[in-house]
Chain length 193, copies 2
DNA sequence: GTCTATAGGATGATAGAC
DNA sequence: GTCTATCATCCTATAGAC
C-alpha cells in the first residue's frame, strides 16, 4: 500500500491508457512512468519488463469486461437480442465520442502484439472468449431455427464489431459500422423462429 | 536506375515485408536498410522520413490489390457470389500457410498508424474503398432482393473478413474465421431472389 | 517501496566525400 | 545515387542509496 491509489495500479492504468492511445510499441516506459507520476525504479520493482506490464493491462481488461462493457447495456435492455444490439450501440457511441479515433484495445493489441508475445496472445484470446461467452449467453435465450449454434453466432457478432470498428476508424465515419450492424441485425432476425 | 531492381523498390519492398511481419513502430530504419542491402543514406535520398516510407508501402498495396488479391480468385470462379467466397478462401489459405500468424497488412496498419498519421489513414481508407469496390462490382451482378445495396453489402463483406482474420490470429485456429464466413454465406444467399 | 543516477545500446536522421 | 561516419536523442533496464 502506498496511498489512495497504489503505485502498481497507477502504472497499469497509465499503461492501459497509453497502449490504447498510441499502441504498445509507440509507448515508452518513460511515457508510462511520467503519466503515472512515479519513477522508473517503481515500475521495475513491480514488473520485470514492458511485456509484463502488457500482461497486467490485459488482465485488467479481462476483469473490466463484464462490469464495463456488458452490465450497462444489459441493464438497459431486457430482450436478449436487444441486449446484443445495445452492446453494439455502446461501441458506436465510443466511435462518436472519440471523433472516430476509437479502436477496440483488444483488437488493436491482437494485431500488434499477438504475433510477437505468446503470453499476450493467450490473454487476448481469453478476452475474446469472454466477450463471445457474454453474447452467446444471450443468444442461447433466443428461439433460434435449428442448426444455429449460439457460440458460432457469438464469434460472428464479435467479427462484425471488430471489422466494423476498424473500417469506421479508417473512414472517420460511422457509416461502415452502421451498415455492418444493420446487416447483422437482418441476419440474426432471420434466424429467429 | 541502378541495376536489375532499383534501390527505391528494394527499400519499399523490404519495408512492406517488415511492417507486415513486425508492425510499423517495431520496424527500425536500420532493419529496412539491412534487409534491402543498402545504406541509410540511400533511404534518406528517396524518402524524407519513416512516415514517407510508410506512404510508399501503402501506395504499393493499393497498386497490388487487383492483380494480387482479386484477379486470381476471379479467374478461378465465374459466378459473382462464388468469386467473393473465392477471395475469402484465399485469406483462409493465408492463415493456414502462416500458421495463423497472418494479419491483414492494411487492417493492422489501420489500427496501428491510422490514429497518428493522417496521410497514412487516408491511404488505408483508399485501400479499403478499392477492396469494397471490387466486391461491390460482383454483388451488383447478383439478383438481390429489393433494398439491398451492393456498396453497403461490400462493406459488410470487408467487415467479416477483417474481424474473422483478427479472431483467427488471436485463436491460432481457422475456426472463428470459418464460422464467420459460413454465416456471411448464409446471409448473402438469403438475399438472392 | 521509492528514489536518483546512469549504463549500454539502439534510434531516426544528417553531413559530406565520392 | 551511394557511400562512410556520426550526431543527438531516446530507449529499456539496472545499481544502489534511502
Amino acid at each position: 500500500m502506498a496511498g489512495p491509489v497504489a503505485t502498481r495500479d497507477k502504472i497499469v492504468g497509465s499503461a492501459l491508457e497509453l497502449f490504447w492511445e498510441r499502441g504498445y510499441e509507440a509507448t515508452g516506459i518513460s511515457d508510462i512512468v511520467e503519466r503515472a507520476g512515479v519513477r522508473s525504479g517503481s515500475l521495475y520493482h513491480f514488473f520485470e519488463n514492458k511485456e509484463h506490464v502488457l500482461v497486467a493491462v490485459l488482465e485488467t481488461y479481462q476483469a473490466a469486461l463484464i462490469p464495463h462493457i456488458f452490465d450497462p447495456p444489459f441493464q438497459r435492455e431486457r430482450d436478449p437480442l436487444e441486449r446484443i444490439f445495445a452492446v453494439l450501440a455502446d461501441y458506436r457511441n465510443r466511435l462518436l465520442t472519440t471523433a472516430f479515433k476509437y479502436r477496440c484495445p483488444i483488437g488493436s493489441l491482437a494485431l500488434e502484439v499477438g504475433p510477437v508475445s505468446e503470453r499476450a496472445r493467450v490473454l487476448i484470446d481469453a478476452n475474446f472468449a469472454a466477450w463471445r461467452a457474454a453474447i452467446a449467453s444471450q443468444l442461447s435465450q433466443l428461439r433460434l431455427r435449428r442448426g444455429n449454434d449460439p457460440a458460432s453466432l457469438a464469434a460472428f457478432v464479435l467479427t462484425v464489431m471488430e471489422g466494423g470498428v476498424m473500417q469506421a476508424a479508417a473512414h472517420r465515419s460511422a457509416e461502415p459500422y452502421d451498415e455492418s450492424i444493420a446487416h447483422l441485425r437482418a441476419y440474426l432476425t432471420s434466424l429467429l423462429k
